[in-house]
Amino acid sequence: MEATSIGAGGPGGPRLEAPSKRRGEKAIQALLALCGLLSVLTTTGIVIALIGPTVGFFQEIPFGEFFTTGWFPTFNPPSFGVFDIVVGTLNVTLWGMLFAIPIGLGAAIYLSEYASPRVRKVVKPILEILAGIPTVAIGFFAVSFLLPIIQDVWPGEFLGGAEKPFLAIAAGLGIGLMIVPIIASISEDAMSAVPQGLREGAYAMGATKTKVALRVVFPAALSGIVASIVLGISRAVGETMIVVLAAGSTPNATLNPVESIQAITSFIATTATGDISQGSITYQSVFAAGAVLFLMTLAMNIISIRLVRRYREVYE
């Protein structure tokens, strides 16, 4: 190879190869690759941690008994109908998203299409601060501020009345508050990436500002907007502290906002608190519930990553 190479390093010219083999360089590259590999090992670790006890769990509890209602893992005999806690998770997620989607998208459209640069410079960092508030603080807020207000304003016996000590909708609103900055910032990114030419074209055709925002920018940024919502749902499903503090711990397959429910995450957090014995069916049920949660969020994360990639490809 060396003999046939052409150009400055060709026959007779100065050699361009490094005088040594650069073993140090290769070692450094290998070390850095190992750091990258650690992330793959983390995922593998999660899967391994989940699989062992989950397999053990399904050796004792048949699938049919798992995918049904009635979640009483500590009763004698115990019953493991996971739908109770899955529906509980969906309950708080539903009310959270009903709050977060309009507010988050409204904030995103305002920041991207209406706000002056000065307003944007103030509001965006404030939203980032909201995104950085620990969920235990939001959970405390939900249970000690939102919950009493909901109980006050709830119309009497509607849907059974709101006089329980914990309410799914209090946790839902707390989760909504947590999700708003996620939806707002990713959607705003997507809308800002829409080329100015599309807006100018619409104005030239006589469109009003509202129409430009809703019928040109919004559809053009749709994949990013959907990605932000899917990621928001994934966050809501995986949220623990807000549900533990505000939604109670009563397994209950209902979407009723004024019921006390148990989510998958709150089951895990309240059950796996150190002193459960390893190998018991309760211990294994924590990992089985964790596997359900992991698969739910994994599916949504992959959809969201794909969608974000799509709008990046189109406009950047």
């Binding site: 623990t240 924590v286 949660l293």
Partner: protein
């Protein structure tokens, strides 16, 4: 201007006036309905921002108002207590949090920056394994924190690593949880260094690693630091994974890394918040204020760093 070029005849004057009226009709005032609809829509958008900000404000005011009476030096110097509730504080939890954060920083800075350098400077994106690593990091950033708790419980506390329910296990769990934040921020910072800097360095005979160490990394430091601060502030506020790896005990003594029970600030807040007594609710609110002050300060530094040192090449 135009009139000077137009002959001063009646016909031309009418023609110009007509054209002006047409232009005014098309480009001038919008129909009333459109104006109303535009303003209503803008008002709705503004309202949604205001609701989000009001939520943030209410959270701060509520914690401040409820916790005000408990704010004092006790909060920092006293352990939690069920007997002397008026003086209950966060001392062991604070020490635990500080120790965990120290371990977290020691782990995420080398590992996160190393992975970011590899992915940006060495990895060939056309190879499938490098794409797997990339997709994997994006997914890890969105895996629920409690799943990391399960990882910690299954593999670090028990299983192959078998550390037991100790502070170091909590720190490793938190480090794995926030590592993707550092990697993603680090990659963005490294990518922002223009290729011409690297090419200049390589052309002068520097090796690839010399180029990275002496040119790319120094230029990327503000971005990396921002990512590390954000990651640490996330680790500081995480509660759920710690509940699974042992930080649940009502710790009244100062923790040590490898033995005995430990706690963290958010876990202790959670402990207080779940107790029905009024005094504990107050201490929980005061703890939240304490935590938020630290976090807001950290995040402000991160935002300031990003804006101050954002280099335009």
């Amino acid at each position: 201007m135009m009139e000077s070029h137009v002959p001063p005849t009646e016909r031309a004057r009418f023609a110009v006036a007509g054209a002006r009226a047409n232009v005014a009709a098309v480009l001038g005032n919008q129909p009333r309905g459109d104006v109303v609809r535009n303003n209503a829509f803008a008002g709705l958008l503004l309202l949604s921002i205001l609701i989000a900000l009001a939520g943030l404000l209410a959270l701060l005011i509520q914690a401040g108002a409820q916790g005000a009476s408990a704010i004092g030096p006790n909060l920092l110097t006293e352990p939690p207590s069920t007997i002397d509730t008026a003086n209950a504080g966060f001392r062991p939890a604070l020490i635990g949090s500080v120790m965990m954060i120290a371990f977290v920083i020691a782990l995420i800075v080398p590992l996160g920056v190393g992975a970011a350098i590899y992915l940006e400077e060495y990895a060939d994106e056309t190879r499938w394994w490098n794409r797997v690593v990339e997709l994997n990091i994006q997914n890890l950033a969105a895996v629920p924190s409690i799943i990391y708790g399960i990882l910690g419980l299954g593999l670090i506390v028990r299983g192959p690593i078998d550390l037991g329910f100790v502070l170091l296990a909590g720190a490793i769990t938190l480090a794995l949880l926030v590592l993707p934040i550092v990697i993603i921020a680090g990659r963005e910072a490294i990518r922002a260094v223009p290729p011409s800097i690297r090419e200049g360095s390589l052309a002068l005979g520097a090796t690839q690693w010399q180029t990275i160490r002496r040119q790319v990394l120094p230029a990327a430091i503000p971005g990396v630091a921002t990512g590390v601060i954000l990651a640490v502030s996330r680790a500081l506020g995480e509660t759920a994974p710690l509940l699974l790896v042992g930080a649940t005990v009502f710790v009244t003594f100062d923790p040590s890394p490898l033995e005995g029970g430990y706690s963290g600030l958010p876990v202790q807040i959670f402990q207080y918040a779940t107790r029905p007594q009024e005094e504990f609710q107050t201490v929980a609110a005061a703890g939240i204020m304490l935590m938020l002050v630290v976090l807001v300060a950290m995040n402000s530094v991160a935002i300031w760093l990003r804006n101050r040192y954002e280099q335009k090449w």
